[in-house]
Symmetry: C2
């Protein structure tokens, strides 16, 4: 059947949706959730049917398309498409198989991941897949197949050379912006480290948000390749390129129940690393209250599987457990974190010790891993490179290759409005909650508002007197400051005892 | 925050959706899938956030509401609502608990079903619940709690008297419209049988669709009560009243993967029966190729649980296994099925034998179950009542109480266009596919187009000569007839050998 296109101007961020009138749905015997194939000239896609409540939004003969469908078909309001009933994707039977506890073959996993990457599954079907893998945890073979399938459904950043280094932190700690420092130290030492990072989902800033303060982060693959060839490194946003795209779609569905499946976690991380040609990867697992991995047993199990699956796909993995019980660095929020990074790379006396130390430790472990130094000697080399100024110069080189320019840390503009949060009592700081401090920084506007965030004056173990500052909230919007103030009245994130 | 309402004119049939602009989402730190509380005067509801792709559809300061939300808040385009961030529903942690294989308590199941009935869970969360119950099958306690929770979240048709009878067929057989016949026989014998039925989902007609040919089927609870008081019975559409509403929402999510969970199946059926005050229920489980229950083992297991859970909630259950391997009756589609029912009730020689026999058998079993006759004698009583014309008179009484009028079966109008489908060879009919014949009737327009459908001249075991009619397709739309003809070129649903 032929339809006229109506632009619904809605985006789902996931499945492809098409809306038709009730009459047209009846004529075609289509129901909510059924699949149709939409064709426009040589382009074709599958979409999932929704039915318009009345004829006002989608009149008979029209088909309302969501943004994802329009852009896939490269069509606009008023265009003509032909529509036919589509079969359910093959992977649905494989998902049901896994849900019933049976082991999947490599080609079945490939089909599922291909259907996910191509938006052929809807949220419900995806949730069943996640749930199946949560209940019947994938074994080694399946996880390897999942990792390979994720790599194969995306683009690859092909880079020559050996070793090619990458690092990954599984997250959950506010601040903790070690990546730009580690990348600068490693690249300064002559190693290739093509780093792609994500934007924040629930934290005050991701590495991509922070780097965006200082440089461009959105480049096509070909340009990223040139940046790496020139500087040995890059610090770009992974979301702009199509590396292992099934991953983000799965994570979106895990979110509502905060489901973390081991196989999915490992496959998604290693697939992204393999997609940038990495040969050596350091995985940072922060541990402690409120982090993603609270028990030593789970951490060890993860380490075991990371190493094993890395071996199967040809990547050498080193896993390190770090302290994730409080924020790392002083600044939280893109601009404040960018400033901490510059202070650290410039060996400034105001550089946060914890951020500096953790960055040196991680860099040192990588030096040991690739055989540049003996065991126990890596951190010293990292410190030498940092203190010599070579890491800073390398950072500026990367920034410039990414259309940025050198900027002095004290010339970085912070939010116009500030509010100091003071301790209600004297004593020692017993706990700083990553979650609460992140929430406050986000209420202040981070990461969308780059100048917004929280600047910490104290860390755990420090003593504080009643009335002394714990932190300052920065904000560009007075109303947000009021919201944040209201929030901290209940919980300011610090336990002083 | 205050928003102006925009009517999006879209219906999801399930979760409550609200769309806001990207800017507003940023200001409120809201993401796709987050929950908001929307308030308009004294009405309040929870909705799930989607984000507009651009400002054209939902400008800043506006909130686009789907039909379900508009009707819940009784608000229209241009109205004002206030919006705040809402907590995730409590049941999410219970769903995760079940997903992890732990047994749920009664109050946890109550909370989940209450959240489902009130549309507080989105599709993804619901899919996790279904999946959890599929993998970790609910035990007896949980299923009883689920059944009770379903009853409690809906309305109750309170009817005095004892026994109060109901029947249920778990479906999968085309035609098979025994309900109006059984109800008429039982009510004519003086029993109370307040029957609510569903519309078709995948078959050519549900009992509600068929009854709609002859009478009104949509009544409020109070009116249904009056109909039952007057006639001992009713034959109404259950979808118009709010009996165990969580059920339909769960079924919607089971559909994509054709998941059938035992606990959900039993709870949903028994909850609807308990909601009409039933004390004695006959459950018909058709068996055979292509039906819902293919193995004797599964059928026996279902029978066991039906009986046990019935006992726990105070309903006496009798389960009967019937032959579901081919369509029952000659007509498929609302008008054609209504005609079969009238012919049967009028003891007409053209009445389909299989439909008549099955109806008598089911009625007889109920007579035995309630102690009206001895074992083995029920069917004779049912036949007497049918042949005396009392069942027909009772049926007309019910029809009239439901705003219908008496109509002669040969004055029922069929579809204007007809196409005869003939056997390609001589031989005995070995198989008639429920699925294929249903599909053909639906392509012809059933159940939306009441006159459309298929009329069968032969059943399994009959012999047929090449060129003789197998069935006729009726249709009100020539194009649909062409579609149907194209479909049967590949498979006409009959195996003659």
């Amino acid at each position: 059947m032929e339809f006229r296109v109506k632009d619904m101007d809605i985006s789902t961020g996931g499945p492809f949706i098409a809306i038709i009138s009730e009459n047209d749905a009846e004529s075609m015997d289509l129901y909510v959730g059924d699949r149709i194939s939409i064709r426009c000239k040589k382009r074709k896609t599958i979409a999932i049917i929704d039915i318009a409540a009345s004829d006002t939004s989608v009149p008979q003969g029209n088909i309302g398309l969501f943004e994802e469908v329009l852009s896939k078909l490269r069509i606009r309001e008023g265009g003509r498409v032909s529509v036919s009933i589509a079969e359910k994707p093959k992977s649905i039977i494989y998902i049901k198989k896994k849900l019933n506890g049976l082991k999947l073959t490599g080609s079945e996993i490939n089909q599922i991941i291909d259907d996910i990457a191509s938006n052929r599954l809807d949220d419900i079907e995806l949730a069943y897949f996640v749930s199946a893998c949560h209940t019947h945890v994938m074994d080694l073979d399946e996880t390897v197949a999942l990792t390979k399938a994720m790599i194969n459904t995306g683009d690859i950043l092909k880079i020559k050379g050996h070793p090619i280094i990458d690092k990954h932190c599984i997250g959950g700690v506010a601040g903790n912006r070690t990546t730009p420092i580690v990348v600068s130290i490693l690249a300064a030492a002559g190693y290739i480290i093509p780093k792609t990072s994500s934007r924040s989902i629930t934290s005050p800033a991701g590495t991509a948000d922070t780097m965006e303060v200082l440089a461009g982060i959105t480049f096509p693959l070909s340009r990223i390749k040139r940046i790496v060839r020139k500087t040995n490194a890059c610090l770009v946003w992974g979301g702009a390129i199509n590396l292992a795209p099934a991953d983000d779609k799965i994570i979106r569905v895990e979110h509502p129940l905060s489901i973390d499946t081991r196989s999915q976690l490992i496959a998604s991380i290693l697939a992204k690393k393999a997609s940038v040609s990495a040969t050596h990867v350091l995985v940072d697992i922060p541990m402690g209250k409120d982090t993603k991995v609270e028990s030593v047993k789970v951490a060890r199990n993860l380490k075991h599987y990371f190493t094993l699956i890395g071996k199967k796909i040809g990547i050498k993995i080193r896993v390190v457990f770090t302290d994730g019980s409080q924020p790392i660095g002083n600044g939280l929020g893109p601009v404040l974190e960018a400033r901490d990074i510059l202070l650290t790379l410039k060996n400034h006396k105001k550089a946060p010790h914890d951020l500096r130390n953790k960055s040196l430790r991680l860099s040192g472990l990588i030096f040991e891993m690739v055989g540049r130094t003996k065991k126990g000697q890596g951190m010293r080399l990292a410190r030498e490179i940092l203190e010599s100024g070579r890491a800073y110069r390398k950072f500026i080189e990367i920034i410039k290759a990414q259309n940025g320019k050198e900027v002095s840390p004290d010339r970085i503009r912070l939010g116009r409005f500030a509010r100091h949060v003071r301790s209600g009592r004297s004593g020692r700081i017993k706990h700083i909650s990553n979650k609460t401090i992140s929430r406050i920084a986000r209420i202040a506007g981070a990461p969308h508002d780059k100048e917004a965030g929280v600047y910490l004056y104290r860390h755990r173990g420090d003593s504080v007197k009643k009335g002394e500052r714990l932190y300052t909230i920065y904000c560009d919007n007075k109303q947000r400051l009021t919201y944040a103030a209201r929030f901290i009245r209940e919980d300011n994130g610090f336990v002083v005892g």
